[in-house]
């Protein structure tokens, strides 16, 4: 076994391995890194947060701007309290914005959509969004629909 050839093949393997890692970073994950970028925390109170969990997307105009951190019950109002973290670069969400729980597709994952209001003041860390629209619960819709059908007879 030629020594030069041995070194060459080892070198080629190492280059191939590192190139594969770079390709995994660029081509496969699309440069998606969970950067621990700066975030600020806000929360919102919902009547019903069915199906929403940690890591759900928070979007604004269809663009992801943050994610849900935790979902719990607010002991005073007994409503669902959803804690979110929003990318610090998005620091222009006005204070009268509303949050609604939306569904990707009919049966898809739940996510939060923010609709921006008109005020000049913006949301800062710790603020609570109170203008909310709850999750669409399919069973409730169906039972309502069935009730209506029954009434119309």
């Amino acid at each position: 076994m030629n020594k030069r050839w041995l070194e060459l093949s080892v070198g080629l393997m190492m280059v191939a391995g590192l190139a594969a890692l770079v390709a995994l970073a660029l081509q496969v994950s699309g440069g998606n890194m969970s950067r621990n970028a700066e975030h600020y925390a806000i929360s919102a109170l919902f009547e019903n947060a069915a199906g929403l969990g940690p890591k759900a997307k928070v979007t604004m105009a269809g663009v992801t701007v943050g994610e849900v951190v935790a979902v719990g019950i607010d002991p005073h109002t007994l409503m669902a309290e959803v804690h979110m973290k929003i990318n610090s670069q998005v620091n222009y969400i006005s204070i009268d914005s509303s949050a609604s729980i939306l569904t990707a597709g009919l049966l898809g994952e739940k996510y939060i959509g923010l609709t921006v209001g008109a005020e000049d003041d913006v949301l800062v860390a710790g603020d609570v969004i109170e203008d909310t629209q709850s999750a669409l619960v399919l069973e409730e819709l169906i039972s309502q629909f069935l009730l209506n059908v029954g009434d119309n007879k």
Partner: protein, 260 residues
Amino acid sequence: MINLIADLGAGLLTRLVQIGQALLMLLQAIFVQPKASSLPRLMQQLFVVGVQSLIIMLVSALFIGMVLGLQGYTLLSAYGSEQAVGQMVALTLVRELSPVVAALLFAGRAGSALTAEIGLMKATEQLASLEMFGIDPLHRIVAPRFWAGMISLPLLVAIFSLVGIYGGHLVAVDWLGVYSGSYWGNMQQAVDFNEDVLNGMVKALVFAFLISWIALYQGYSCVPTSQGISAATTRTVVYSSLAILGFDFILTALMFGGAV
């Protein structure tokens, strides 16, 4: 009855002693002052352990990727969402299959060879004669093999993932007609570099450590006869496989267990 309990205790003690010996061997082999003269030996081992495992990795990765593409397509097209096949193939490979399958192949291909080689060196008293020359066999023989394993397996896992993903692309896109843009696009949306790719690499490192350690210890401590070497080689493959699968569960639980 008392004998039985005594046997149990004796068995436990032997095991503990073995683990202690293995740990000592590992510590002595890892903490070696790196010298320029030991680089050629590392090269040699990288060739044996890494380059020569490349073919089996490439072929298995291609076939595993193709099977994932095919199975994913059949399963997902029942729900009309065959575009998600790229994401399924990539996440399955990067998170689980690449590290585990590559490590199992590595244990069978390289680990068993390491054990047999060192076992034969022991049986033919090559290790003893090295010691006679005042050369520590742990530094000379064990250390380069250990580091070669630690370096090559992660690289092989990265290659494995990439080849597998292209194998899935071959079946899903080129043969079954999934749109190439959605194959890559869905994948890029779903795969996170730190969380998925790097965690897979961490798994690869842990498995490389386990395999090299078990293989070298089994070779170094085997009974220096032909039966002893054969038994040690078998133990290397069995213990490595069990360790890989067990630790894979623990690591997965830690990484993706969804600690809320």
